[in-house]
């Protein structure tokens, strides 16, 4: 009994020691990382922290002075906002379609060519690894500015990201409907469309909605590096500098409202979809 107790205590001590060591390593990493980042930053952290509210205050003050302009400005920027949302929607749709195909081809038991499962998984890994900006910048060089480079860039990343999630959903799908369809001579396309899709559609849709939310943000950011939409307007308004901060405020507000709106919308539908699935 005493031996067991002593061993237990020793184990706890050891565990605690590991925990402590991990904690110290972690703190050391954080502190040294902070100092390195601070030293390589143009303005230091401690200088900047005092100014953090300076810019928002300037923007707010100017927006406050010209509050009558805001609705008009928001109306002018509405077309670019619609373009940003369209980029997100089109790329989510395109990406989701690619993801469905890729995920079906890379799920064991469903794949059309079982030998190529590994290949399609690697394809998804690579698509997922590309940050959107890389593809977007290269495509801007070839296709010129505008919404298309952003759409393609986001769609490719989406195909990889959703493909992985979709193939996890596929793995839980029952194979019985597929076997039934197979026994009556259905083609692979029919098996997937009629046998698998009805099972996985709610989960697919839920993931796709979440992705749409993420893609709206991504499409705004890509606009900032030169690919159309509200991000591009933000960059312009920003470079006009003081005196035009009412435009900056209008865009901030539009972007904020859009993101919150689609967040809420997709949140509600996702709850419904997944709730309906389990009920």
């Amino acid at each position: 009994m005493a031996r067991v107790q002593a061993e237990y205590m020793a184990m706890t001590r050891r565990k605690r020691m590991y925990g402590g060591v991990m904690l110290i390593v972690f703190i050391a990493l954080m502190v040294s990382g902070f100092r390195v980042a601070d030293s390589r930053n143009a303005g230091g952290f401690w200088n900047g922290i005092g100014n953090i509210f300076q810019f928002p205050a300037e923007v707010l003050r100017e927006a406050g002075e010209k509050i009558a302009n805001l609705p008009g400005l928001m109306w002018t920027f509405l077309p670019s906002l619609i373009e940003t949302v369209n980029i997100a929607a089109a790329s989510t749709l395109l990406g989701a379609i690619m993801a469905i195909i890729l995920s079906l081809l890379s799920t064991r038991g469903l794949a059309k060519w079982p030998r190529l499962v590994g290949l399609f998984r690697r394809v998804m890994d690579i698509l997922r690894a590309f940050p959107e900006i890389v593809i977007a910048l290269v495509l801007i060089f070839i296709l010129g500015g505008g919404p298309v480079p952003a759409m393609i860039a986001i769609a490719l990343h989406t195909a990889g990201a959703l493909g992985k999630l979709f193939s996890e959903v596929n793995e839980n799908a029952s194979l019985k409907p597929v076997e039934g369809l197979q026994s009556v001579g259905a083609t692979w396309g029919q098996q997937m469309w009629l046998g698998v899709m009805p099972q996985v559609a709610p989960n697919y849709l839920s993931y796709a909605l979440l992705r749409f939310e993420i893609n709206i943000r991504a499409s705004a950011i890509l606009g900032f590096v030169g690919s159309g939409g509200i991000g591009y307007d933000l960059k312009n308004a920003f470079s006009w500098g003081q005196g035009r901060y009412d435009a900056v405020a209008a865009i901030f507000l539009l972007l904020f409202l859009t993101i919150v709106f689609f967040d809420q919308l997709s949140g509600r539908y996702r709850n419904k979809l997944i709730g309906g699935g389990t009920a």
Partner: protein
């Protein structure tokens, strides 16, 4: 009888049901198609073919796996320079060059291009015998500009000629002639000067020779061991700037790490205030939740812009932008995890007389730790990608180098090098965090 009625009844139902489903199954693709048609016109995809610069695409692809060396004669001062990509940092010492450049006398050079093409630049004149076409000669004079003499009457499509400038593009290479200079360019496969630039004593040595040098005691550079000199020359390579590039990759990972971990540390205490079972006051709960929603809703783009005003460009700005956005996301996730904890364990700890802080430490944290850590790792993974993008906006890390290289519109081999490094970085971070998450899940199962 009644049995038969119910079956026919349900059969009708079933047919109606299937019809409805079928209609739905047709409507969804139709709506998607309609939307794509709208997008096709809204994004002017038909006009894309005109705007697309396929010549840019060709340059991009050719540049990313090959390079060109310029042999240039300065017509004002005379004399030749041989330079990789025509850049000062890739210039050969005077009178030297790769083996396909042969200096002949004071002011003449014989250049062997690809596919057996050969040309001679002799003073201000050029002789280029193009196989299957004939001898092209050109003479530059101060008064008349470029005088071109072709074997055929008509000027072929691969030559563009005026008094001021002549361009000749063949499968062997490229020649441009202006009043100021005569320039012959030869394309070669690979990434030039990737390890050593021309001014390094190690340039042109094979891998075996380098290993031999590293092991030998005879010093190539007087005050350094050979290995140190080799590493030094690669690290400070002026063409590829390996040192700066690796620093940039490190900065990007640092941004993601500091941002994610910082966000987790800020969000955890706040999440207690936002969880129903730990925060009895509705007002506090609602307020903290609104803060989370606000932080997430403002989006990292806006945070990045606001913060870069206060902190200037650099990795700290990027890290803080990630930190602020993800505090919102983590706060929401953590408070949801906290609302799902098992009260019994907390009561058990409390029954031993534990104080509130100890109750959290031993009753709550062990329950949520695996969920929490796996979420944090998942975000760390995603943030490595975000940090690349944020770096492009704030000016830090590999994102900055990438945008700079793309803006010059000629260093495509560097662009493809950075893209390759970014992919490797993301994949390494992905697999590292995946490995850690699997270990965490296994150990938490083992612990139970």
């Amino acid at each position: 009888m009644s049995m038969a009625e119910t079956t026919t009844g349900s059969a009708f139902d079933a047919i109606g049901h299937i019809r409805q489903k079928r209609r739905f199954a047709l409507a969804v693709p139709a709506v998607i198609l309609a939307y794509f048609t709208y997008v096709f016109f809204a994004f002017d995809i038909a006009g894309l073919a005109d705007r697309a610069r396929m010549d840019n695409a060709r340059i991009l692809i050719a540049d990313s796996y090959s390079y060109k060396t310029h042999v240039t004669r300065d017509n004002r001062t005379g004399g030749f320079t041989v330079a990789v990509e025509g850049e000062a940092k890739g210039t050969w010492p005077a009178g030297q060059g790769p083996d396909w450049v042969r200096f002949e006398g004071e002011d003449a050079v014989r250049v062997a291009l690809r596919h057996g093409h050969e040309l001679v630049i002799d003073g201000p004149g050029l002789r280029y015998d193009v196989p299957g076409y004939g001898l092209i000669t050109a003479e530059v004079s101060r008064r008349e500009g470029v005088v071109l003499d072709l074997p055929t009457e008509a000027v072929p499509g691969w030559i563009s000629a005026s008094d001021a400038r002549v361009d000749i593009i063949t499968e062997g290479g490229r020649v441009t002639i202006t009043k100021a200079r005569i320039e012959a360019m030869r394309y070669q496969f690979g990434w030039e000067l990737f390890w050593f630039t021309l001014d390094s004593p190690f340039h042109g040595k094979s891998f075996g020779e380098l290993v031999g040098l590293a092991l030998s005691g005879d010093r190539v550079v007087a005050d350094k061991s050979n290995l140190a000199a080799i590493v030094q020359d690669v690290w400070t390579n002026k063409m590829w700037r390996h040192g700066d590039v690796l620093w940039a990759i490190f900065e990007t990972i640092l941004m993601a790490f500091l941002g994610t971990m910082g966000a987790a540390m800020v969000a955890l205490p706040l999440a207690f205030a936002a969880a129903r079972n730990f925060s009895p006051l509705m007002v506090v709960r609602g307020a903290v939740r609104r803060v989370f929603d606000f932080l997430r809703g403002v989006d990292s783009l806006i945070w990045t812009i606001v913060l870069s005003r206060a902190f200037g460009p650099g990795p700290m700005t990027g890290a803080l932008a990630i930190l602020i956005t993800d505090t919102g996301s983590f706060g929401k996730l953590f408070s949801e995890a906290l609302e799902n904890v098992d009260q019994k364990q907390i009561e058990g700890v409390a029954s031993t007389g534990a104080k509130p802080l100890q109750r959290y430490r031993f009753g709550v944290i062990p329950q949520i730790m695996p969920v929490l850590l796996s979420q944090v790792l998942y975000y760390l993974e995603a943030n490595t990608r975000s940090a690349t993008i944020i770096g492009a906006i704030t000016g830090g890390g590999i994102g900055l180098l990438l945008t700079q290289a793309i803006i010059t519109q000629k260093d495509w081999e560097e662009v493809s090098y950075y893209i390759l490094l970014i992919l490797i970085m993301v994949m390494v971070m992905d697999s590292a965090s995946g490995w850690l998450r699997r270990r965490l899940i296994r150990s938490s199962h083992g612990g139970n």
